[in-house]
């Protein structure tokens, strides 16, 4: 039996709702609040049941409108590259600082999306980020944490 992607997503949502409901029932409330008409559990419990009912209906009822996606037309390679670059960016931003990590992230993203105009890629990464940082930090006085620039004495 072939299950449609929409029903599969609904099934995942059903599992999420069951887990959410289970967690909601296990929220620790104060003893005096246990039998109150409304406590920290009430709203999540309603939501859990609503999620279960809606996803079950979606799974059970026949699909009137089907969403067809042609996987041959999806660019999995580029999106995986972008997600991986973003994850690496998130992982290093605190360690090597905002300026270098952001500039490298932009440069790498342009490259993996097929750009090869090196001069433009450079301008739209390092100087662009520097100008943006100046706008935030220098003109608008919005603090931007950057241990590297602080270390080399560019930022106070």
């Amino acid at each position: 039996m072939r299950i449609s992607p929409t029903k599969f997503i609904s099934l995942l949502f059903l599992v999420l709702s069951v887990f959410y409901l289970y967690t909601a029932y296990n929220i620790q409330v104060f003893a005096f609040d246990e039998n109150a008409p409304f406590n920290a559990r009430t709203f999540p419990i309603y939501l859990g049941w609503a999620g279960i009912i809606l996803s079950s209906l979606k799974i059970i009822l026949p699909e009137k409108v089907t969403t067809e996606v042609n996987h041959k037309h999806l660019d999995y390679k580029s999106i995986i590259y972008l997600i991986v670059i973003s994850l690496i960016y998130a992982a290093v931003i605190l360690k090597i600082g905002y300026f270098i990590s952001t500039s490298l992230f932009l440069f790498a993203s342009y490259y993996f999306l097929g750009e090869r105009r090196w001069g433009l890629m450079f301008i739209l990464s390092f100087p662009f980020v520097a100008a943006f940082m100046y706008l935030l930090h220098g003109l608008l006085n919005i603090y931007l944490r950057d241990p590297f620039l602080k270390y080399i004495g560019v930022m106070g």
Binding site: I9, V29, I79, S86, A90
Partner: protein, 499 residues
């Protein structure tokens, strides 16, 4: 009142304040245009700057930023289908298809005229009716608010789901579930944090918006890059087309604007409702008003469908100032940020603001109208040039959208957990969008989640746990009946399609 208007005019028309309105509108437009950055971020960025000004000038600058950002949000909604703020999500329903048909310039002009008209009409309403309108919002009690929020969520599911009501309702529940993460507002009990300290304060609204709109939109553009049908539909941002609006379109706008202005203003007055609900309700209302032929055009580039939410969201912006200025209750997230700024100036908004600081009360109202004029005179002719900001090739635009999204989140928290969380939510949202699970209902549900729980809590405590609060008050009952009608209509439409 005449004396007040004159005081307001003399303050708002000083050279410094006119300059501030212009700077605010322009800066707001640029910031609001960038996907993921909305008026809340723009105003928050302005708060430190305004401390150097006197309160009137500071508030005038922020009001200008507010209007500019709403207008800028519409621009990115129309050109990129990436709304900067939830209030302009409904604008994308017809604005984006219109842009895909090569009429981006026209769509932007319709949005600008509608915003101007909506803002102007509601500024007049605000001027004349501010004191008495505050009584309308005072008449609303918790059960009414709860019912109104249910109505808003049902309406958005019905009107944004392209006939897939259940999928939209699932997204509503998901949005509400995400809103429950973090500390419970009353008891401070942590929920769904799984002992992770980063989740104690809940998930930030900006993070959810950035992930489900800006970042997910960027990923979707890349993901569907090989789709020949999709590629053919990409907008040529360098060819925005004419910004001229023909007679037929003007007539359509003239019919839509008055009713959407009234609706937008009234919804804006209600604390918590704001531009988002106003724009969705106006879109839904307009769809019901037009004839069958026009109805078929909704979602495919309808003038009515574009004009209605644009008029209503600007009208609601003015409306949201009513409870802020007269009651001290913010009507939206953005006015909540402004409330913080007012308190920073040592001003307590409320009924006494008339007496204690009349120049502030009236100058803000006057500057709203001046802001509208500035937006039309300054921004409309500049649209083709301002929009060039977005007319950069895909290979550059996508990384830049990701850059602004990540920077926005990094500036808020300076930790990388939020960035990881945003990437995770964006990836899930991208797959959900692929299978037509709509994101607007999730966003609205997330925004309203906290307030909805609060009003439900109050309603249930007042009625001692009984569900009677749903039909005890006539206003609640009427709102609920409208909600039931919408759900019933969805079921009826589905059955009719089947037969």
């Amino acid at each position: 009142m005449i004396e007040g208007i004159l005081i307001g005019l003399s303050t708002a028309l000083s050279l410094t304040n006119i300059l501030m309105v212009m700077v605010g509108c322009f800066a707001g437009t640029i910031i609001g245009m960038l996907p993921g950055l909305g008026p809340m971020t723009a105003i928050a960025l302005m708060i430190p700057i305004t401390y150097g000004f006197d309160p009137s000038t500071g508030l005038i600058l922020m009001a200008g930023v507010y209007y500019g950002a709403v207008f800028g949000g519409s621009t990115s909604s129309i050109l990129l289908n990436a709304p900067g703020i939830p209030g302009t999500v409904a604008t994308a329903f017809d604005g984006y298809p219109m842009a895909q048909q090569g009429k981006a310039g026209k769509a932007l002009a319709i949005a600008a005229y509608s915003s101007f008209a909506g803002g102007t009409i509601s500024a007049i309403f605000l001027l004349v009716a501010a004191p008495s309108l505050s009584k309308v919002s005072l008449a609303f009690r918790s059960p009414d608010y709860f019912a109104l929020m249910i109505l808003g969520l049902t309406a958005i599911s019905a009107f944004s789901s392209k006939g897939q009501f259940l999928k939209a309702m699932m997204m509503v529940v998901l949005g509400l579930m995400l809103a429950t993460v973090g500390q419970d507002s009353l008891s401070d009990i942590t929920r769904f944090t799984f002992n992770n300290m980063n989740l104690t304060d809940g998930i930030s609204f900006v993070l959810i918006v950035m992930a489900t709109f800006a970042m997910s939109e960027a990923l979707t553009i890349i993901f569907r890059g090989k789709d020949p049908n999709r590629a053919a539909k990409q907008i040529s941002l360098t060819e925005l087309g004419s910004i001229r609006v023909n007679k037929e379109e003007t007539i359509k706008m003239a019919k839509t604007i008055p009713r959407s202005s009234i609706l937008g203003f009234l919804i804006g007055v209600l604390p918590g409702a704001g531009a988002t609900i106003a724009s969705f309700l106006a879109y839904g209302m307009e769809r019901n008003y037009v004839n069958e032929e026009e109805k078929q055009k909704f979602g495919k580039g309808s003038v009515h469908g574009l004009s209605a939410p644009e008029t209503a969201n600007n009208a609601a912006c003015s409306g949201s100032f009513v409870p802020l200025l007269t009651l001290g209750i913010p009507g939206s997230g953005t006015t909540a940020v402004m409330l913080g700024a007012l308190l920073g100036f040592g001003i307590q908004p409320g009924p006494r603001l008339y007496q204690t600081n009349p120049e502030i009360f009236w100058s803000v109202i006057m500057s709203m109208y001046i802001g509208m004029v500035v937006l039309l005179i300054l921004n409309l002719p500049l649209i083709p040039y301002i929009a060039r900001i977005l007319a950069v090739p895909r290979n550059y635009l996508i990384p830049l959208i990701l850059f602004f999204s990540v920077t926005g989140i990094y500036l808020m928290s300076f930790n990388n957990f939020d960035i990881f969380l945003m990437i995770g939510i964006a990836v899930v949202a991208t797959f959900l969008r692929l299978y037509d699970f709509p994101m607007p209902p999730l966003i609205l549900a997330f925004v309203l989640g906290g307030l909805m729980e609060e009003t439900l809590r109050r309603s249930l405590l007042i009625s001692d746990g009984s569900p009677n609060f749903l039909w005890d008050r006539p206003i609640t009952l009427i709102i609920l009946l409208i909600t039931i009608t919408i759900v019933g209509w969805q079921i009826f439409s589905t059955l009719r399609k089947k037969s």
